[in-house]
């Protein structure tokens, strides 16, 4: 292309640009279309869901489906459960991640070098394989059909990743900082909570946001380790709705919108941390 005249080069650029916009728009339709359809459907009355031809903008705009969900204590309970479980998991994961991450970053341990390999191997264990012994353990601990069963099993998946992230973060903070606190008469804990934790805030936020998403979205364990309706979380609850009234599509869409809202808001606010959380540990639930 070195021999191309500037004029031809510009034309070529314009053509590329047009194709790029076409590609990007098509991609956006593919990626965002279903979400948009979910949103508009949640404002339609049930009679309009399968209207022929389909209505892209609701003809009758109604909040009825949302009202139905938010006034039904059984369904509100799904949300409450999800918030409780995700909140507890985030809290435990962050505390454990900070403590272990600090220890690994500042002190020597046997097998320290193989930590990465161990954590990656943990991420590779199939959840379905773990579920079988976990089911036995949870029954044995008398935690079957309780939210604790979920908290306990989720942290096993989220803590290793948090440790990896936090160790990486603490490694970037010079050791001289904790030495300075100790010289001033502070202990190890003081150095950790007063100095290191505030500096490592971005890392903590990304661990927290990522952990929340994993806990909020988990399905397999929530399906198997709980049983009564009052202990179900949102992902399982939505499917229960599907089984019971398979024609209430607007309600199911309203519940889906409410169900993805917390993670979506977190994602929009902490985009950068989310994305770094997603790639750094190379983990996915």
């Amino acid at each position: 292309m070195a021999t191309m005249t500037p004029m031809a080069g510009r034309k070529r650029h314009t053509a590329t640009r047009i194709w790029l916009w076409v590609g990007l728009t098509a991609g956006a339709l593919f990626a965002g279309g279903p979400a948009l359809w979910m949103l508009t459907s949640s404002f339609k009355p049930n009679t309009e869901i399968f209207a022929y031809p389909p209505t892209f903008i609701p003809e009758t705009f109604t909040f009825a489906a949302y009202a139905e969900i938010l006034t039904d204590p059984e369904k509100v309970r799904f949300f409450l459960n999800s918030y409780l479980v995700a909140g507890a998991v985030v809290l435990l994961t962050i505390v454990a991640g900070i403590m272990a991450g600090y220890a690994l970053s500042r002190f020597d341990f046997p097998f320290k070098k193989s930590l990465n390999a161990v954590i990656i191997s943990i991420q590779a264990v199939p959840p379905i394989t773990l579920l079988i012994p976990y089911f036995g353990l949870v029954v044995w601990l008398k935690l079957y059909d309780s939210l604790w069963a979920l908290v306990l099993t989720y942290v096993v998946a989220t803590i290793p990743y948090a440790i990896l992230m936090m160790t990486g973060y603490f490694n970037t903070i010079p050791k001289e900082l904790d030495e300075a606190v100790k010289i001033d008469g502070g202990g190890t804990f003081r150095a950790l909570w007063r100095v290191l934790v505030p500096i490592a805030k971005p890392g903590i936020v990304s661990v927290g946001a990522y952990t929340f998403m994993v806990a909020w979205n988990e399905y397999l364990f929530a399906l198997t380790l709980t049983q009564s309706k009052s202990n179900r979380t949102v992902p399982v609850g939505i499917q229960l709705l599907m089984g019971e009234h398979s024609f209430q599509w607007s309600e199911m869409m309203a519940m889906s919108v409410l169900g993805c809202l917390p993670v979506l808001i977190l994602f929009l606010f902490f985009q950068r941390q989310f994305v770094s959380g997603m790639t750094a540990g190379a983990v996915k639930a």
Binding site: R17, G27, A31, W37, V125, I128, M242, M253, C260
Partner: protein
């Protein structure tokens, strides 16, 4: 602090040991005195045609999903990284492209069930544009069900590769492209001689991780079809789940879980080696 690590190791290692022990006993959990039966459970599994079908489906599901994740992820990442679209627009498209990844599997499946419903909008568009003569039963037609489930899984999973590849693309030094341009390399030549070789380590790593996760994928398949119709979408994960929690054959389920575990660990080992070689 050290205790945290020990507790974690125990919490992780105990169930793995347990599942291996289960797999060589006669029906545990359900029987009070289960006996050692050696590899008998594995033999029964392999003799079951449904299990063999599940292995085949898992391989198809995984390879097609991973390939399409890579192609879509790379295509989207390159469009976002072109530098020819205003920054704000790029940022907006990036958010939209990541969107499928933040939805939980049960929402993903329920939304696609609405879209792909026989009277849904996809069938409306396909029949109106004369692509098909009659409405397609995406989920209940045994010839289509696996493709439908793969499609949903591709939609839900490509953003992970896209993000990693985008980070990789941004890390390619601009002077490599400039040098190629001076040498007279066109866009295709630049793609094959600069972009792909530079991305190769990331691509290889992501393919392995994606392979492991997709091989284990449970919720999307389970919620979309439950492994049906006629085992058309049965995978090792759904088969294992049914063995344990519908048929209460916990030892058989453990054996099936052990097979999935061993394959996953084998790929993970290659991944760890690959990562070490990179450092």
């Amino acid at each position: 602090m050290a205790p945290t690590l020990v507790v974690m190791a125990v919490m992780m290692a105990t169930p793995v040991v347990m599942v291996f022990v289960y797999s060589v006993l006669s029906n545990v959990v359900m029987e009070a005195n289960s006996e050692f039966v050696g590899p008998a459970n594995f033999g029964t599994l392999i003799a079951d045609p449904v299990f063999r079908k599940a292995i085949g489906n898992t391989l198809i599901f995984t390879t097609v999903s991973v390939t399409l994740h890579l192609l879509l992820g790379l295509g989207f990442a390159m469009m976002l990284n072109s530098g020819l679209v205003p920054r704000l627009a790029t940022a907006v498209f990036r958010v939209i492209f990541i969107l499928p990844w933040v939805f939980t599997a049960s929402i993903v499946v329920i939304v696609w069930q609405l879209l792909l419903n026989p009277s849904g909008v996809v069938n409306y568009l396909l029949t109106t544009l004369n692509v098909v003569d009659q409405r397609v039963e995406w989920f209940s037609n045994p010839d289509l069900a696996l493709l439908t489930v793969i499609f949903i899984n591709v939609w839900a999973g490509y953003p992970f590769l896209m993000i990693s590849l985008l980070a990789g693309l941004q890390g390619i030094p601009a002077d490599l492209y400039e040098a190629a341009q001076v040498d007279g390399a066109g866009p295709w030549s630049r793609f094959f001689n600069v972009t792909l070789p530079q991305l190769k380590p990331i691509i290889v790593a992501m393919l392995m991780l994606d392979f492991i996760w997709n091989m284990q994928q449970f919720p999307i398949v389970w919620l979309a079809t439950g492994g049906g119709p006629l085992n058309a979408t049965e995978t090792i994960a759904t088969y294992t789940y049914k063995l344990a929690f519908s048929r209460h054959e916990f030892s058989m389920a453990a054996a099936s879980g052990v097979i999935l575990f061993i394959v996953s660990m084998a790929v993970a080992l290659v991944y760890v080696r690959h990562q070490k070689a990179r450092d």
